[in-house]
């Protein structure tokens, strides 16, 4: 057997009382793509940060290419030929591509020779790996896909032979992700060793040769990708059987709950985002709105949720609602029994520095049940939070923890619990499972379906077609502020929706 490119032996690391990594051993063969999969908080990123010298392991050894190596800091990792592409890019936003690439790897005190050398090397790398970027582009002006290339180029410029990518597709569009995987295969063909950290099963199946599964700080299995399947991996990850598809009974559709007529929305820059749409959501059904991000879905949700004004008319259970001015703000909407799980939970759904029990009240904090004279009845609030935490299986089950200290999935559970438990007539949900792990996705989907089964209306906006298909009873596709068409999930497929999402009307053509 060849000498492993990386061998970790008995790595342990704890942060205070939390044991992030427990006695982890792993061996990665050179010239392969090795996947590490696990739910959020399973300890994947910690393990890789140890390998990159960002943290120091409490115990354990690191062997690189058959030699025991100490990695006390990032510099040592770079010297050992390890490059890392973090989930949140470590780029200086107002620097050019070239400046970012030489940062820390300059050749001397003056910049000019370093920049010239980097420009030349970049050209070579671009032809060798098909990694084209404009060296003089400023980072904040290029897309995330390009920024990620810069991160990869940074590692290659430092002559990395081992490349670690932490959740690389989280910010990419499907097309960009495909491109990334082509690049990774190319790198592998050139003899680089790649570690791919992800919680997406599809990527593991598509891209890797070997996969290791982590759960709660431990390595539970390492298998050849060709010898496993998504269902099996999901079970290894979560530690129990998971439903990758939502189980749901046929919808019992009732009277229209939400009727939208000729709705127009203009954003703060004066650009018209929603251009006269008509929609209807009935009781007991989930209407899924598919579309590429930025085609007016967000604005639609925000108008309905009372976060921005619009023109046209909307009716809830037959009675008209204001679209601007009094009665159109978020509080009014909640009083009108419209609940809203916003698209960006960290900015609009939660206050990240506040405790879970405070977050559970937001938007409903004026509820008489939470009042005690002129004071807030915090005890009642906390009791309520405890109940919701238990019902929604929020982990850790600690209402005193700040929102930011929960994983993405558990943060989302807090938001969903807050909104669904109000028993609204209409639930608005935006990207309910963005950055959420498999176990939590399953749970959140079940909750949404349960609300629908109680005869409530749900308006779902998601850029994940898989999610749209598995939840929706009816699908509307939005493109450039218009509804391109409505389809029933069993009468259409990803291809047809994909065309509609790109503004091509399949039927008309």
């Amino acid at each position: 057997m060849t000498v492993p490119a990386i061998e970790l032996k008995g790595i342990s690391k704890s942060f205070g009382p939390v044991q992030a990594n427990k006695d982890i051993s792993i061996s990665v063969a050179p010239g392969t793509i090795h996947g590490i999969i696990g739910e959020n908080g399973a300890g994947k990123s910690t393990l890789m940060s140890i390998l990159y010298g960002f943290y120091k392991a409490d115990k354990g050894e690191i062997w690189i290419n058959g030699a025991k190596t100490e990695i006390p800091d990032s510099q040592a990792a770079i010297a050992a030929g390890i490059g890392m592409v973090f989930q949140h890019f470590k780029l200086v936003e107002n620097f050019t591509v070239l400046e970012n690439i030489i940062l820390g790897a300059e050749d001397g005190g003056l910049l000019k020779p370093s920049l010239a050398k980097a420009r030349k090397t970049l050209k070579e790398l671009a032809t060798e790996y098909e990694l084209n970027v404009d060296p003089d582009a400023v980072i904040e002006e290029i897309g995330v896909g390009m920024q990620q290339r810069v991160e990869i180029l940074k590692a290659l410029y430092r002559q990395a032979d081992i490349l670690i990518l932490d959740e690389p597709t989280g910010v990419l569009t499907p097309a960009e992700a495909d491109q990334l995987f082509r690049i990774l295969h190319r790198l592998k063909d050139e003899g680089k060793t790649i570690i791919l950290i992800t919680h997406k099963l599809r990527e593991i199946m598509e891209a890797t040769d070997t996969v290791s599964v982590m759960r709660r700080g431990q390595m539970t299995a390492t298998v050849k990708t060709s010898e496993t399947n998504p269902q099996h991996l999901a079970e290894l990850m979560v530690g129990r059987k998971v439903l990758l598809q939502v189980d749901k009974v046929p919808a019992k559709v009732g009277a229209p709950v939400l009727e939208i007529e000729n709705l127009h929305v203009t954003d703060e820059k004066g650009v018209e985002r929603v251009k006269g749409i008509n929609l209807e959501v009935r009781a007991g059904e989930i209407l899924g709105i598919a579309g590429v991000a930025g085609n007016g879905q967000s604005e639609l949700l925000e108008v309905l949720g009372g976060m921005r004004p619009g023109t046209g008319s909307i009716r809830l259970n037959g009675s008209p609602l204001a679209l601007s001015g009094a009665g159109s703000d978020a509080r009014a909407r909640r009083d009108q029994h419209i609940a809203h799980v916003p698209e960006d939970r960290q900015r609009e759904g939660l206050i990240m520095d506040f405790h879970a029990w405070e977050n559970v009240a937001f938007g409903y904090h004026h509820d008489p049940a939470y009042q005690s004279g002129i004071f807030m009845n915090n005890a009642a609030l906390r009791a309520d939070t405890e109940r919701k935490i238990e019902k929604f299986d929020v982990r850790p089950a600690d209402g005193w923890l700040a929102a930011k200290n929960f994983s993405g999935g558990n943060q989302q559970k807090i938001v969903v619990a807050r909104e669904i438990e109000r028993n609204p007539d209409l639930l608005l949900v935006g990207q309910p499972t963005r950055g959420v792990d498999i176990g939590a996705i399953e749970f959140i989907h079940q909750q949404i379906v349960a609300l629908r089964d109680q005869g409530k209306a749900v308006l779902l906006v998601s850029v994940e077609l898989e999610e749209i298909f598995s939840l929706s009873d009816r699908i509307a596709v939005m493109f450039d502020g218009h509804i391109m068409g409505e389809r029933l999930p069993h009468e259409t497929d990803e291809k047809e929706l994909g065309l509609l999402m790109a503004g091509v009307d399949g039927k008309a053509a």
Partner: protein, 321 residues
């Protein structure tokens, strides 16, 4: 207003802008590295006192300058310790330094010199003397260019020339050297610097130290060149004006120079024209004296365009979990 008056006003503009410029560049280094520093004022004041005190005792202005720089560096070290090593709040640390300097200078001055919190007046050798350019005297008679050469350009102390040379110097360091690249990077995204294998702490201490040296020179200039000795609170808010100039200049060296010259001009006008008579309406001297400070408030309130500070400014660097 004749030509000579204009030249004289501009001449004093240069003198008055010098301490602002030094402090402003000091702040530029620190803030570009992500360490906000409202303690410029305190550092200048401390340096002003120690430079004057040591110059008075030793009779050597150069020893005075060194003492001023050293004392300012001590306060810089304190600020660095609080905000880099212990990741404290940079504003609070800065405020503390200002109070510390305001109190300590007077206290020590009274204890050492017993002159009511001031240092003895400095005489020759204890002050930076003006440097006269060759033929300044002879050429002063030449129309237009003569006065510009002999009045405006010639006849300043060495620290004035140093301050203005520091402008292209700073530009060169920031944009043409490895250190400058890393310094700008650490103020924008320290994580990028850290993952590139460069010490964030080391860079930030270096920046804070440079800030200390420049503030030290600024303080020494106040007490040993602009004036002849230390008096209580002699910085008179110049540290804050320098901060305003820094924001006005959007943290760029050349613009910082122009901003400081503008503030210097306002001060010079206030000094020269005590009561301005505008066709019956007399603007009292107090209004003129207040002008630089009013402009400071206007700038800090954001009336002059949107200034985007270094993105990581004010935030202690903690490796994320």
């Amino acid at each position: 207003m004749d030509f000579l008056t204009i030249i004289q006003v501009l001449d004093s503009t240069v003198r008055l802008a010098t301490p602002l410029l030094l402090a402003c560049l000091a702040g530029l280094y620190s803030e570009r590295a992500g360490i906000f520093d409202i303690g410029l004022e305190g550092k200048m004041l401390m340096a002003a006192f120690f430079s004057a005190a040591v110059a008075a005792v030793s009779g050597s202005v150069w020893l005075g300058l060194l003492a001023g720089i050293a004392s300012s560096l001590v306060l810089s070290g304190l600020h660095g310790l609080a905000s880099i090593t212990f990741r404290g709040n940079q504003l609070i640390s800065g405020v503390a330094i200002n109070f510390l300097a305001a109190g300590m200078t007077v206290l020590i001055a009274q204890d050492w010199f017993k002159q009511g919190g001031r240092t003895p007046s400095l005489f020759a050798g204890g002050r930076f003397e003006p440097i006269n350019f060759p033929f300044a005297e002879a050429l002063s008679g030449v129309p237009i260019l003569g006065p510009i050469y002999s009045e405006l350009l010639s006849g300043h102390s060495i620290l004035v020339y140093l301050a203005f040379l520091a402008v292209p110097g700073t530009w060169w360091v920031l944009y043409r050297t490895r250190f400058g690249l890393r310094l700008r990077a650490v103020g924008e995204n320290p994580a990028a610097v850290d993952t590139a294998g460069v010490s964030v702490v080391g860079l930030r201490y270096a920046a804070v130290a440079i800030c200390g040296v420049l503030c030290g020179i600024a303080g020494a200039y106040l007490a040993t060149a602009l004036q002849a000795g230390f008096v209580k609170d002699m910085t008179a808010g110049r540290g804050f004006i320098a901060l305003a100039a820094l924001i006005f200049a959007k943290w760029r060296p050349w613009q910082a120079m122009w901003a400081c010259l503008l503030f210097g001009l306002l001060q010079a006008i206030a000094l020269r024209f005590q009561n301005i008579d505008l066709g019956g309406v007399v603007i009292p001297v107090q209004v003129m004296d207040a002008l630089p400070y009013i402009l400071t408030v206007v700038i800090l309130a954001g009336f002059v365009g949107k200034a985007i500070p270094p993105r990581a400014g004010g935030e202690p660097y903690v490796k994320e979990r």
